[in-house]
């Protein structure tokens, strides 16, 4: 890269030699028309619209593929350029239907824009043959009308090069060419994952969303915000018209770089769904009646005060929400701690990454991704375990596939042959819950073959001796047998991992176990031993499941932590908050979620306040949870829909969705990103932050309601890792914590010099299996998880009819051999039962799962969690949701 000077249209421009003419021009505000170029893709130079004239060169050159050279003099609008460019556009038009007035893409079409810009008449001199195809509407979310396709090929390249799915390709050749989906039997029969990244990038109306609402772009507004689904934190524009979301447009920004998944792109319809809660409801004689906000607040204030006075502060508990903003979670825990004076506040992070927080805090310093999402593409080795990344964190999954295309190796250790396993260089199909046996065996190989990083161990870690004693005793063959895999694969994985710049990516498959903390610590051992942490492109990366589960934890919606993981039992911390909030803070750690439920069951918890959570679906052993909730005297649920949990409530408060409020979400890579209000709250609903603050006013009439921005300023003041955050600084790109001050640009990867706790700590860990093993009565292992199209307890995705058509009900995945033994066929119904309960599910036969194991998504009410095990990890109280023994019987 060298700095050079060029001339474009006689204007002298300084640029660097790595740029193409198109990029250099764009940097300087000169927009050269193009259809096939995309900054994220290698130039294709196929549309031939971006031609420019370069002095001294006889032929016109495509600016997208020609690099600038010092002294180049370029014209983007000479007569020669105009003639050639207009001719090409005219040729495209000659092959395109002239139906703009009724086209869905009207006002949002590059062909239309360029024809207008360059004065090209709609009357075409060629009057030639136009191809006609049948519109393929088989996909539920979008359609393809090949007549309108100008064959820029962006959809094909994005699908293969960026999304990594390769569902699209060119069919036929020459003038007969058209874009078709794999196997050419229509979109729905292909391997398309409906991410819609083709739709978002189609320059014409060929690939279009099946919009529920008719709209014209000039009547819409665009609002940039952050996706409300998984922890990736994709950036997009909400396109709205008349207080209704009509479309989502991805943005080519960090972290998603213009990509989205099916949920982010298409599952927005819940926002304007008719079933939204629009007014407060109070239960009387077993039935809900509408109420005013004032009445509801008064009742809540009265009841909570009553239980507080009557049964003590710890008879009340609150559940915050990983779906709400940082500001709202901050307010919620402040409300519980300041006005109810208890630390009984937790949220569903308890069920997902509690073991990450406990496992990494003690070994490294904090429980978050050490690296950035953008680094995924630069890992030399990607070790995926306990995460079905392409379904749960689709955009990160796509980046993994991009890394693979860039030459990275992929290791997958999973009970199921997940999609990424097909891309893997080493795939180890382990039995659920045997992760530690695998990691120990890998570390034994690394030790035996001396592949560990001696100097890193010496300089950066402690307790290696005690740890390695355990590893020395590991019998690789025995562990391979435990995992149900072969030794060779373990060796290969160990060698690959140890000898490259490697990143580990894990999620619930590692954490949701009765020894989950040890699973996580074992991962830390592996990374510390090989020096694969504390540097760019190498680290330990727990993938957080919900949009703001990282932020909810950061904000202290945890019984032991005040915001920023500041401990309630730390006197100086308490002193700081006591001063700021003007109340005494309880020095005792509060109850964790499962213990809150148990407390409700046993009668010690009398009142609960739940903001945007649905434990009646998400928690283990639903029968037990329901009983517990029935026993609670007073339950407040604040949500956007009448959830399964809301049905148990005494008061329901209608909340607004992410689209109706301002705030921030912190994504899985610790990036604090803006959420912006795109539409007014639906009906009488209010943003959660407003509700909490209005309620606070009941407790404290002097309390003045703050805006989200003002609350973030308060957070920054009290929270060292958020100290440098303010709305102005994160307006364009979010910052990754720790953000030490208002000048600090955030932290791309953690621990370059030293770990949060000083030295990295090795923990000696022996393999200990799951609490419940299959036996004669319950012969199968049930493992649970998410699927691409649904999210969590389907409160949101379930309100998108396309998704419900695809996945309307609970199902199990079962191996064909096991299915045959049980005389089960595809689409049969079975009862899956455990020692705790049973549930009905449809049969999906799949060879991707082992014979001893069945899989069931946890999304559906009265589904997987009717049978899951409540046994807890001793340290962090995470339940063993990932393994339990079940029996299967045909209905």
């Amino acid at each position: 890269m060298t700095n050079i000077k060029i001339k474009i249209n006689n204007q002298t421009i300084e640029t660097d030699s790595s740029k193409t003419i198109l990029q250099a021009a764009k940097d300087n505000g000169i927009i050269i028309p193009t259809f096939c170029n995309d900054d994220r893709l290698d130039p294709e130079a196929s549309c031939r619209v971006c031609v420019v004239e370069i002095e001294g060169q006889k032929k016109l050159q495509t600016s997208c593929s020609t690099k600038v050279q010092d002294g180049m003099s370029i014209s983007t609008n000479s007569d020669k350029v105009k003639k050639s460019r207009n001719e090409v556009i005219e040729l495209m038009w000659s092959s395109h239907p002239n139906d703009c007035v009724v086209c869905d893409a009207n006002e949002d079409c590059k062909l239309q824009d360029y024809m207008y810009q360059f004065d090209i008449k709609s009357e075409n001199k060629y009057d030639g043959f136009k191809r006609t195809f049948e519109t393929d509407k088989s996909n539920r979310f979008f359609y393809i009308e090949p007549d309108k396709c100008i064959l820029c090929g962006k959809c094909v390249r994005i699908c293969s090069e960026l999304q990594g799915v390769e569902a699209l390709g060119f069919n036929q050749r020459g003038h007969e060419s058209f874009i078709s989906f794999a196997y050419d039997k229509g979109m729905d029969f292909s391997n398309c994952v409906s991410c819609g990244n083709c739709v978002s990038n189609c320059p014409t109306g060929a690939l279009m969303e099946k919009s529920k609402t008719k709209f014209r772009m000039h009547k819409t507004t665009k609002t940039r915000t952050t996706c409300p689904y998984c922890g990736v934190g994709c950036q997009f524009d909400i396109v709205s018209q008349d207080n209704k979301i009509v479309k989502i447009e991805p943005l080519n920004k960090l972290p998603n770089e213009g990509l989205l998944c099916v949920k982010g792109k298409f599952a927005y319809k819940y926002v304007n769904h008719k079933d939204r809660l629009t007014t407060p409801l109070i239960k009387e004689n077993g039935a809900f009646r509408e109420a005013s906000w004032e009445e509801a607040y008064t009742l809540i204030h009265k009841k909570l005060t009553h239980y507080h006075n009557e049964f003590g502060k710890n008879s009340i508990a609150g559940l915050a929400s990983a779906k709400c903003t940082n500001e709202e979670n901050y307010l919620f825990q402040k409300f519980i701690r300041k006005y109810l004076l208890t630390n009984n506040v937790d949220h569903c992070a308890r069920l997902c990454h509690a073991s990450t927080v406990s496992g990494l805090a003690t070994t490294l310093g904090s429980g978050a991704m050490t690296n950035s999402i953008a680094e995924v593409k630069n890992n030399e080795v990607i070790f995926v375990t306990g995460t079905n990344t392409t379904e749960t964190h689709p955009v990160i999954g796509s980046f993994m596939r991009q890394a693979k295309k860039n030459g990275a190796k992929i290791i997958v250790a999973e009970p199921r042959k997940i999609d990424l396993a097909y891309d893997a260089d080493v795939f180890i199909q382990i039995e659920p819950g045997t992760n530690v046996a695998l990691f120990n065996a890998m570390m034994k190989v690394i030790y035996d073959e001396e592949l560990y990083d001696q100097s890193f161990i010496e300089k950066r870690t402690e307790n290696f001796e005690a740890f390695i004693k355990v590893i020395k005793d590991v019998d690789i063959n025995e562990n391979a047998e435990i995992c149900g895999c072969n030794v060779k694969d373990i060796q290969e994985a160990a060698r690959l991992y140890a000898t490259h710049t490697s990143g580990i990516y894990y999620a619930m498959g590692v954490t949701q176990h009765s020894n989950g903390t040890n699973h996580v610590k074992s991962i830390a051992n592996l990374a510390l031993m090989t020096g694969n942490v504390g540097k760019k492109n190498a680290g330990i990366n727990p993938l957080r499941g919900q949009n703001n589960v990282q932020g909810a934890c950061d904000m202290g919606a945890l019984p032991n932590n005040l915001p920023g993981y500041q401990k309630v039992y730390d006197e100086t911390v308490r002193a700081k908050f006591e001063k700021a909030w003007d109340v005494p803070i309880d020095k005792n750690v509060g109850l964790q979620l499962p213990l809150i439920v148990n407390g409700a069951f046993s009668g010690t918890i009398k009142a609960m306040y739940i903001m945007g959570e649905n434990p009646i679906v998400s928690d283990p052993d639903i029968t037990h949870v329901k009983e517990a909730f029935n026993k609670v005297d007073f339950l407040v649920v604040q949500d956007i829909f009448m959830t399964e949990t809301a049905m148990f409530a005494d008061v329901i408060l209608p909340a607004s969705t992410y689209a109706e409020k301002d705030g921030t979400f912190t994504n899985t890579e610790r990036r604090v990103q803006r959420v912006r209000k795109a539409i007014e709250p639906i009906g009488n609903s209010k943003p959660d932050g407003v509700i909490i603050q209005e309620l606070m006013q009941k407790f404290d009439p002097n309390y003045t309601i703050k805006t989200a921005k003002e609350i973030m300023d308060e957070i920054a003041e009290l929270t060292p890792i958020y100290q440098g955050i303010d709305y102005d600084r994160i307006d364009e790109t979010g910052l990754q914590w720790p953000v030490k001050d208002k000048q600090h640009m955030g932290t791309e990867f953690l621990y370059p010099e030293e770990f949060g706790r000083g030295k990295g700590y090795f923990t000696p860990i022996n393999y200990k299996g799951a609490a419940e093993k299959p036996d004669a009565e319950y012969p199968f292992i049930l493992t649970t998880g998410r699927i691409l199209y649904h999210f969590h307890t389907i409160t949101m995705t379930g309100k998108n009819e396309e998704i419900m058509e695809m996945y309307p009900e609970n199902f199990i995945e079962i191996n064909p051999i096991s299915a045959k033994k049980l005389n089960l066929k595809q689409d049969d119904y079975v009862v899956v039962s455990s020692r705790r309960g049973d549930t009905t599910a449809k049969v999906h036969v799949s060879k991707d799962i082992g014979e001893k194991v069945i899989f069931m998504p946890f999304h559906f009410a009265d589904g997987a969690n009717m049978v899951t095990n409540t046994v807890l990890d001793e340290v962090c109280k995470i339940p063993e949701l990932k393994v339990c023994a079940v029996a299967i019987a045909k209905v």
Binding site: T62, E87, F170
Partner: protein
């Protein structure tokens, strides 16, 4: 008993299609019956080149060249020639000019002016027997290079020889090798482009069928020069015989360790793989060819990067054509100076042309660069069939253009052909006579290119289609004079803005014919041309023959009453004209 006679039977695709394989079987069987196996050897060779006269059988040492042999002639050749030593006069070539039988090929005009370097072994050796190739100094060039020359020296020889790519582009071969050799890295590739796709061109096929080892040897030399250890022959699946012979040759070469590890004890490893193409014309374009080998859709990519920088598997790759390779062993053996002494200033050596169309002697001819078109058409080609008027020659296939009468004396080389609006191309040469309609000819080529366009870039994908549509409109007499301007404008635009060579050259046949024969286009545009044959009423006796042969049934009339042609329906096929015995039909 001493071996007395060698019978060479042409085993090229053309002659085999006319039973030459059966002839070999029959010959061998009869010789066995006659117990003459020790005296007579039957060899199936590659193509002799004089394809219009096939099947060809040559008998040595008498040097007798039998043409148009039929299966039933075999017995006579055996009993008369082989047994009794008497030449079968009726099977000799009939020289149309001198009107006499010619016995030996060296006395035929067709062969007299030829100079065979690339085709040197075709029709001379058994391509399926490596020892025959070795007997004609086969693999000697490779041995010399490996034992005496450095890689740089080989490239210098190639540069000094001034050999240029015979696939059409005419890029200096030595320079291409040098560019590839200079690239860093140990993994490089040599690709032989055997995706011969020009309609009418078949020299590459003939070379592969007749002399496959020369290509293998040349590829190994190229590999040595560039530091590549792997060669790939990309050949179209429609060439089964060539593929079979290549496979046989590779197997034999491996057995002799002319391919494989440590060739000639030099430490140099080289092996060759065959990849089959599905017959797309665009796959002859080197970047599309590489994409196809890699298993991708056969589409060209932008250049730069050139294959010499990033080719197969993104590694430096040299793509050379079959005929180019066929010259290389001779250049090594005889020296760069010898080679560069042949030809014109900027085009050295020889070029093989596939001579076809309205010409007497149809076949493959190899002539020194600088030979004039007149020599090829009138001397080698024996002039126009039926003594008709020469109109033009289409060279360069669908990428080329026409050469007219006024340029008959142009010495042929890369530059001169370009200067007169045509191109060398891969060497297709189609001779057109006074009856040929130039608009129809260019429409034929456009139909080909618009069908073979890969569809990647807009100008080629839609533009060639639109050009074809305009030509159709014109020939259907539905066009107008403005169409010619639109056509010409569009042609230039496609040339200037297409992504690869296919699109950039696709308009050439139209532009060239528009230049030389604009009046024919104008006649269509002004609709002053009649496309129909006509019946002269006075001459027609109503024999009904014409109406019976007309494929579109546009001739009507009662017996013994003059017939009438429906001019709007006539497709001008000429069947009626040929059928009429009373000269009652006139051409359009």
């Amino acid at each position: 008993m001493k071996e007395r006679i060698t019978v060479l039977v042409c085993g090229g695709t053309g002659c085999m299609a006319s039973d030459s394989n059966e002839m070999v079987i029959q010959l061998k069987q009869r010789i066995k019956e006659l117990k003459m196996e020790n005296e007579v050897t039957i060899i199936k060779t590659g193509c002799f080149g004089f394809c219009g006269q096939g099947p060809i059988i040559k008998i040595q040492p008498d040097n007798v060249f039998y043409v148009k042999v039929k299966l039933e002639d075999i017995e006579e050749i055996i009993t008369e020639h082989i047994v009794k030593g008497r030449v079968v006069e009726r099977l000799l070539f009939d020289d149309p000019k001198a009107n006499e039988k010619v016995k030996e090929h060296k006395n035929m005009d067709f062969y007299k002016k030829q100079m065979r370097i690339a085709l040197r072994n075709c029709g001379f050796i058994n391509p399926e027997d490596i020892s025959e190739y070795i007997a004609v100094r086969g693999y000697e060039a490779l041995a010399i290079v490996l034992s005496e020359n450095t890689s740089e020296e080989v490239i210098t020889i190639m540069k000094d020889s001034k050999l240029r790519g015979r696939g059409g582009g005419g890029f200096p071969t030595g320079l291409k090798w040098e560019l590839t050799a200079k690239q860093p890295g140990n993994e490089k590739y040599v690709i032989c482009n055997a995706d011969e796709g020009d309609p009418g061109a078949f020299m590459d096929r003939s070379i592969l069928e007749g002399d496959p080892h020369s290509i293998l040897e040349a590829m190994a030399i190229a590999g040595y020069a560039m530091g590549a250890n792997t060669g790939i022959v990309y050949i179209r699946a429609e060439y089964p015989l060539a593929i079979h012979r290549l496979e046989t040759a590779i197997k034999q070469a491996r057995e002799y360790n002319f391919l494989g590890k440590d060739l000639f004890g030099s430490g140099f490893d080289f092996d060759i793989d065959i990849r089959l193409g599905a017959g797309a014309f665009v796959c002859g374009e080197e970047t599309a060819l590489i994409a196809s080998i890699e298993g991708h859709r056969g589409e060209p990519t932008k250049k730069p990067p050139f294959p010499s920088e990033q080719g197969y598997k993104d590694k430096p790759t040299s793509v050379n054509n079959v005929e180019t390779f066929a010259n290389i062993p001779s250049i090594i053996l005889k020296g760069a100076e010898w080679f560069s002494s042949i030809g014109t200033e900027n085009s050295k050596g020889t070029k093989v042309f596939a001579l076809a169309g309205k010409i007497n002697n149809i076949g493959l001819v190899e002539v020194p660069m600088g030979t004039t078109l007149r020599e090829i058409v009138y001397d080698i080609g024996g002039g126009i069939i039926d003594g008709k008027e020469f109109k033009a020659v289409q060279t360069g296939g669908p990428s080329g253009g026409v050469i007219t009468k006024e340029h008959l004396d142009t010495p042929i080389d890369y530059e001169s052909l370009k200067a007169i609006g045509s191109m060398m191309g891969s060497g297709g040469m189609i001779v057109l006579d006074e009856d040929n309609d130039m608009v129809e000819i260019s429409k034929f080529y456009l139909d080909f290119t618009q069908d073979e366009s890969c569809g990647k870039c807009t100008p080629c994908r839609i533009g060639t289609k639109r050009m074809f549509e305009i030509l159709e409109r014109l020939t259907n007499l539905e066009g107008c004079p403005e169409d010619l301007d639109i056509l010409e404008d569009l042609a230039h635009n496609i040339k200037n803005s297409s992504l690869c060579g296919l699109g950039q050259s696709a308009p050439n046949p139209v532009l060239s014919t528009l230049h030389y024969f604009r009046e024919e286009y104008e006649a269509y545009a002004n609709r002053t041309i009649s496309k129909s044959y006509k019946i002269i009423e006075e001459k027609c006796i109503g024999c009904t023959k014409c109406s019976r042969v007309c494929p579109v049934e546009c001739i009507t009339g009662k017996v013994k009453v003059p017939h009438i042609i429906d001019e709007s329906a006539c497709i001008a096929c000429g069947a009626c004209f040929d059928a009429c015995r009373f000269d009652a039909i006139i051409k359009p």
